[in-house]
Amino acid sequence: MDNFADLSGAPRPIKKTLKMRKNPLFQFWRFINLNLRMVAMIFKGDH
């Protein structure tokens, strides 16, 4: 018998969230933001 994990308690993204995840303008801003945060994180530690 299969024993799949119960995921029913997980939050399901709303339509707006899904839309924003694909919105090129918003995602371009996230691209810049994520890259800057990653670079900051890299230089904070041993690198």
Binding site: N3, A10, R21, F28, M41, K44, D46
Partner: protein, 485 residues
């Protein structure tokens, strides 16, 4: 003149060789010994495995790069290390067996002043009966494996288009596997491809993992601060599984794979089976098959290597309970204590313990994700070992010994969830540090400012940018060294 030998041209070994060559004068030798003729940007094998990229897009021949940079290249497998030399060698040396078509099977010996063991993992498909391309499952560990996986996936899509229901199982093929992130990526890339092909509704996708809960990724999960709340990678990952209708089986050790049937055991000790039409299960890793001998020719492998085959370095390997594990147990210099001119970096070094809490099933089967030490941390380790060697060659024994601990190092993991310039998606995650430090960061062990995750098209762009950047860097194009590891 000093001679540095690097065993293995993966991310850590190749990075080390390039930094050594850049900083050492031409009077010093840098020698690369690696069994493969090509370098592979392994993170992009995921896209080869769904047919989005060719093998040529994720690999390139090493020989021209090494010729241009002045690195002596031996396409060969390291078979033994003799750190004390022997009656014929005053210095340490390695024995090698050539794998290039011209010299296949020939053996050789190379003396060294410094040695970097960056041999990476042995893909231990043999640990699980029936696992792997020679068994009943596919893999994306190498570009060749990924090509086979893509071909098999294409057949599954054809069957789905013909109206046949198919079950695709993706995950890890043993209770002690690592690289759950890669299995996660492949799961969602396959899901994305099935949706694009218009056959998603006929396919059941199951993620089969040794993780205790989703979002563990072999690092014990992550806590994120988002919009004023503390959340975690478990909730975040479960949400993605729910959204994409991917099922998950957790806490599993795959014990055997037969044609169309996976046998697995969970922490409750119950042995179950799972039928499949397509299965991509990653193998567990062990150290490369390499022995070590002292100057008398006695086998000292058990002193140099851990039982897993990985090389013991400057870590605290004292066995102790999970509650007593500390960030300071993790190595910083990657030097072998008895032989400070020998280093092990990347997957080749033996981690002192897991990062995720190890568990055993009711029947005593170990179900414990191994710590990931690929990608970014691998590159940093290679560069750190290279910097120490460079300083010791330039300044003698007083040269600075550099350090970079995974307990003081961040890592970015961009897990693709589908390719495409405007349709792609990825889960971009960073964690700092990789190994939690509960003294520095009480509670969750990591910096909440520098540990974060986000899903969206931007993540796909980042993953593609990393693909371009790291292949550029690995090809040692102009100013390659400005790109961080």
């Amino acid at each position: 003149m000093a001679r540095v030998v690097v065993l293995g041209a993966g991310i850590s070994g190749h990075t080390a060789a390039l930094h050594l060559r850049r900083s050492l004068g031409k009077n010093h030798q840098v020698i690369m010994v690696t069994p493969n003729s090509k370098w592979n940007w392994i993170p992009s094998n995921i896209w080869v495995g769904v047919g989005k990229m060719s093998a040529e897009q994720v690999t390139f021949p090493l020989a021209p790069i090494y010729k241009r940079k002045g690195i002596e290249f031996h396409q060969a497998l390291g078979t033994s290390i003799h750190p004390e030399g022997d009656k014929d060698h005053a210095k340490g040396f390695v024995t090698i067996k050539y794998t290039s078509p011209e010299k296949a099977g020939e053996e050789g010996q190379i003396e060294y002043d410094f040695l970097i063991n960056a041999t990476g993992p042995k893909l231990n498909f043999a640990a699980t009966e029936g696992l792997g391309p020679d068994g009943h499952t596919v893999s994306v560990c190498t570009s060749g494996h990924a090509i086979e996986a893509a071909a098999e996936l294409k057949e599954v899509i054809a069957k789905l288009k013909a109206g046949q229901r198919q079950r695709l199982v993706i995950g890890v093929g043993h209770g002690t596997c690592t690289c759950e992130g890669a299995a996660f990526e492949y799961t969602f890339n396959v899901e994305h491809e099935l949706s694009l092909a218009g056959v998603r509704d006929l396919a059941e996708i199951v993620y089969l993992t040794n993780e205790y809960e989703l979002g563990d990724f072999g690092v014990g999960g992550m806590s994120f601060a988002q919009r004023g709340f503390e959340t975690n990678s478990k909730l975040w990952t479960e949400s993605l599984f729910l959204e994409r209708n991917v099922k998950a089986i957790l806490q599993s050790h795959v014990s055997k794979v037969e044609a169309g049937v996976i046998h697995y055991e969970q922490l409750d000790g119950v042995k179950r089976t799972l039928e499949f039409d397509f299965a991509m299960l990653l193998p567990p890793f062990r150290g490369a098959d390499i022995k070590a001998f002292n100057k008398n020719g006695d086998d000292i492998s058990s002193e140099i290597f851990a039982p897993s085959g990985f090389m013991k370095v400057d870590a605290n390997y004292t066995p102790k309970p999970y509650e007593e594990w500390s960030a300071s147990d993790w190595p910083t210099t990657y030097q072998v204590p008895a032989f400070p001119n020998v280093f092990a970096v990347g997957i080749a070094f033996a981690p002192p313990h897991q990062i995720s809490k190890p568990r055993t099933s009711v029947t005593g089967t170990l179900i414990a994700p191994a710590p990931p030490r690929t990608g970014m941390p691998s590159g940093v380790m290679g560069k750190t070992a290279a910097k120490t060697i460079i300083d010791q060659i330039k300044h003698g024994a007083n040269g600075k010994v550099h350090g970079a601990s995974m307990a003081n190092m961040g890592a970015a993991c961009v897990a693709s969830a589908g390719a495409g310039l405007t349709t792609g998606s990825a889960a971009a995650m960073t964690m700092y540090p990789v190994v939690p430090d509960y003294e520095k960061y009480p509670g969750v062990g990591r910096s909440s400012k520098d540990t974060f995750g986000e899903i969206g098209l931007a993540g796909h762009w980042i993953k593609y940018m990393l693909h371009i950047m790291f292949i550029y860097k690995a090809k040692a194009r102009p100013f390659w060294f400005l790109i961080p590891e």
